[in-house]
């Protein structure tokens, strides 16, 4: 039977190589849950075996039942009915039913709400698998962060009301943030939320571009403090689908056709407040968004995986000039670059998720662990701050790199297939269309770069690299480490130069270049870790550094050039705004 987990050596390599056991220990809190829930694991081995089984089972479902419907789903899309309800593509409906039966719609939720209490890392792997089968399904499957946000911040009453039906797959959710005039800049949100005399909340306004806005549980970012015009005036409320929630329009999109993108009108819809007022954007949405960014990174990886496999297969079987086209150097290089790029994005994203899990574990211990010892508390606080800084950098890096990779790989896959790839006969054109959105939603690549560059200029990237490199390396890996250190010196030189420039324009202009250097080095350090245990991965690490180091030198030259023409000579270089008669 086809299986998108067992046929994917790279995901399995990460599962076996990364410290998933450590994460299981954190999640299971000393394996205390088994007393209450008979299915909960009793020890680390038991938990690992569970994760493996869940991924294997999901891999089979993805390959056997979901992937075969992706083409039809892309063709059929969603339909907005006259009564305002949305009919999903049959493949998506069936997949959601199956995922509910498989009990994986509460992947990371606590057992007590019907969840599986898995680490984010394992959930990220599952997103990778699902997205390879049908990227647009991931937009609904991958919205489990809605439930996580409720679990983390809402009152017990709200949790009890919403989490069990979400974990069972009966209800799905949506994060309802964007408005016509509030996209990247969420501080501009206008949708109002107000209380009546009895303290009941109501939401009024229009939201746009809402993925799965036809879902049952909507987390809506609203202005509760009209007198405060920025992000501090915003709160997060939960609204249930009902008469006062109207889907007015479904967007007609380039890709991810199985994912319904809705415009919603909230007509004084009854709502409940999540957590505290005014923390909507600055705390809750930021937390939700970080999880969602990892989600999109894994979606991008799944799309890349799907596109790569088609190209690899095609290059092997397609004959031109009496030989398989995989024998031509140019095609070989395309395929190798795709494969290495894909592995780089997966490694970066999986490790980012691993550190998110670590941070979560520390926070949990601080909050619920009854840590009396002062030194231990201080230690935990320090650790959490350090991990927090790392994650603020690694998460946007992953989202940026993985989504750009997805586009590159889908694009190159089409290059390998040539004319055939441009036709609807192969899934590559769908992969290319689907990949495009990953660089846009949950924050565009340009915004991810701005978020990540702060971590590079503040020294977090350097500290992180030092931490990763601080171990004994096998003799044959040591030369690679030498190269990374050389790259780190270049990075430091670039940071220093950027910091010496007045204002922030120069930094913003060259941010992408600086982040690229940092990503190349971070990935290299992780690859070296793999190289120490796997000959195959050693070749990948060597190839990576062989080709990224010259790029790093090029980027350095560009950064140190001091050139600001794109900003200063904008009018001359971009020309005037085109006028059409």
């Amino acid at each position: 039977m086809a299986n998108f987990y067992t046929d994917n050596e790279d995901i399995q390599f990460h599962f076996e190589h990364m410290d998933v056991a450590g994460l299981a220990g954190v999640m299971e809190e000393g394996f205390r849950f088994h007393d209450e829930f008979e299915f909960a694991p009793t020890d680390v081995e038991d938990a690992l075996d569970n994760y493996r089984r869940i991924l294997e089972s999901l891999g089979e479902l993805a390959a056997e039942e979901i992937a075969p419907t992706a083409e039809e789903t892309d063709l059929v899309g969603n339909t907005l009915n006259e009564d305002g309800s949305v009919t999903r593509a049959p493949g998506i409906d069936n997949a959601l039913k199956r995922l509910a039966q498989a009990e994986v719609m509460g992947f990371t939720l606590p057992y007590r709400f019907g969840g599986l209490n898995c680490p984010q890392l394992v959930y990220t792997m599952s997103n990778d698998i699902i997205s390879r089968a049908d990227a647009s399904l991931m937009n609904i499957y991958g919205l489990q962060g809605i439930a996580e946000t409720i679990s983390a911040f809402a009152s017990e009453e709200i949790k009890q009301q919403y989490l069990p039906p979400m974990a069972s797959g009966k209800w799905t959710g949506a994060m309802v943030l964007t408005e016509p005039d509030a996209g990247s800049d969420l501080q501009a949100v206008k949708t109002r939320a107000y209380q009546d005399e009895d303290g009941n909340w109501f939401v009024h306004g229009v939201k746009r571009f809402i993925t799965n806005g036809c879902g049952e549980v909507l987390l809506v970012l609203c202005r509760t403090e009209p007198e405060i015009s920025d992000g501090r005036g915003l709160s997060l409320l939960v609204v249930e689908r009902g008469e006062k929630v109207k889907v007015r329009r479904l967007e007609n999109k380039l890709g991810i056709h199985g994912s319904p993108t809705c415009e919603i009108f909230f007509d004084n819809a009854p709502a409940k407040l999540i957590g505290e007022r005014q923390r909507g954007l600055i705390t809750y949405v930021m937390s939700l968004m970080n999880g969602a960014r990892i989600g999109i990174a894994s979606q991008a990886i799944g799309i890349g995986e799907a596109a790569y496999r088609v190209a690899r297969d095609y290059a092997h079987s397609r004959k031109q000039f009496d030989t398989a086209i995989e024998n031509f150097p140019a095609v070989r290089e395309l395929l190798v670059n795709m494969s290495v790029d894909l592995q780089a994005a997966r490694t970066l994203t999986y490790y980012s998720t691993y550190y998110v899990d670590q941070e979560y574990g520390v926070l949990r211990e601080m909050e619920f662990g009854n840590v009396e010892d002062k030194d231990r508390r201080r230690q935990l606080k320090q650790k959490s701050r350090k991990l927090g800084r790392c994650n603020k950098m690694l998460t946007p890096m992953s989202k940026y790199y993985a989504s750009e990779m997805s586009m590159r790989v889908s694009n190159d896959s089409m290059a390998v297939l040539g004319g055939s790839g441009y036709m609807k006969d192969y899934p590559v054109e769908r992969n290319l269309r689907d990949s495009r959105i990953t660089t846009i939603y949950e924050g565009t690549s340009q915004l991810q770069v701005i978020a990540a560059v702060a971590g590079v200029t503040s020294g977090t990237a350097g500290t992180f690299l030092e931490m990763r490199l601080d171990r004994d390396w096998p003799e044959d890996v040591a030369p690679l480490i030498g190269k990374i250190r050389e790259g780190m010196d270049i990075m430091a030189e670039c940071v220093e130069f950027i910091k010496s420039q007045p204002g922030t324009s120069y930094r913003d202009l060259h941010a992408r270049r600086l982040v690229d250097i940092a990503v190349y080095l971070v990935v290299a350090s992780l690859f070296c870790d793999h190289a120490a245990v796997s000959e195959k991965k050693k070749k990948v690490a060597e190839y990576w550094l062989q080709w990224r180091m010259p790029e790093i030198h090029m980027l350095k030259e560009q950064i140190l050039s001091g050139d600001m023409a794109a900003v200063k000579e904008f009018e001359a270089l971009a020309g005037p705004v085109p006028v059409t008669e």
Partner: protein, 287 residues
């Protein structure tokens, strides 16, 4: 009202994974060389039973005959929603043909007093499709083979749409009944994660290295004990079991290798098509 369903299932070699050593020299299947799987159409039978339980209530018991390793099939059934798993295992049952197998299964099924017995249409190793109907005969149940759709189930009357090869037949009959289910009847549901986490620990007594009573009690208490029945437990007469109970004798096994031979082209005209059909009928390929 609820219905008690018994699903008869078989663990079979995965014939999709055939390699060079899949056959022994004597022409029989080398079971050790192939991974085993849940016979595909038995999964459809299980799904049909689970759907009956979802709609009407009742229980689903999975029954399998085989070596201790067949406990994997029972666990797999529990992952997907079955209530109970029973293994019939006994060295004296080895080498049973379809007649002996259906006799042994009948002895076990009688003990369970089911309303509905479900089997897959056929197993991918033997492809005989005999065990279901033979079992029905021994139980004295009506049999409806090739189920493609269960149309209704009310009180003690079931209505089934069955595939008869060149069309469909809708039949009604009274319970108890035995149904054989086709692959096209449904798509088996996936394993449920939490059931998998729980029932992966389910064990039959013979899987425990040195089973002590305490261990068995603990398993039973947690609902994790797979039952294992011997031929004595089901009151089977030895003369009808195993080699003694199996009249099927393999006369000769031939390895048939299909090779391409001569071909001739026919024009894409009405006459050409008519000629092609005539030739295919003559060679008994169709018709």
């Amino acid at each position: 009202m609820g219905y008690n369903c018994v699903v008869c299932a078989k663990q079979v070699p995965d014939t999709k994974q055939i390699t060079g050593d899949a056959m022994k020299e004597d022409g029989t299947v080398n079971r050790g060389a192939l991974p085993t799987i849940f016979n595909p159409e038995d999964l459809n039978a299980l799904e049909e039973a689970l759907a009956i339980r979802d709609a009407h209530g009742g229980t689903v018991t999975v029954l399998t005959m085989g070596p201790p390793a067949a406990c994997d099939l029972l666990r797999e059934s529990l992952f997907r929603g079955a209530d109970r798993g029973i293994l019939i295992t006994d060295r004296r049952a080895a080498a049973s043909d379809t007649l002996a197998t259906s006799y042994i299964l009948a002895c076990a099924v009688r003990k369970l007093e089911p309303d509905i017995v479900l089997c897959g249409r056929q197993a991918i190793d033997g492809d005989t499709a005999q065990v279901g109907p033979q079992l029905a005969e021994k139980l004295g149940f009506p049999v409806v083979t090739y189920l493609e759709q269960l149309q209704s189930l009310e009180d003690d009357v079931i209505r089934v749409k069955r595939n008869v090869g060149n069309g469909w037949e809708v039949v009604s009959c009274k319970l108890p009944v035995l149904l054989t289910v086709m692959e096209t009847a449904n798509t088996p549901r996936p394993r449920a994660a939490r059931r998998m986490m729980k029932y992966k620990k389910a064990l039959a007594p013979l899987e425990l290295a040195d089973a002590d009573a305490g261990q068995l009690d603990t398993l039973k208490e947690k609902g994790l004990l797979l039952e294992a029945w011997t031929l004595d437990d089901i009151g089977a007469e030895m003369a009808w079991c195993g080699v003694d109970g199996s009249p099927t004798k393999v006369h000769r096994i031939q390895s048939v290798v299909l090779t391409g031979g001569e071909y001739h082209e026919l024009p894409p005209t009405d006459e050409g098509v008519a000629e092609l059909i005539g030739e295919l009928i003559e060679e008994h390929t169709i018709g």
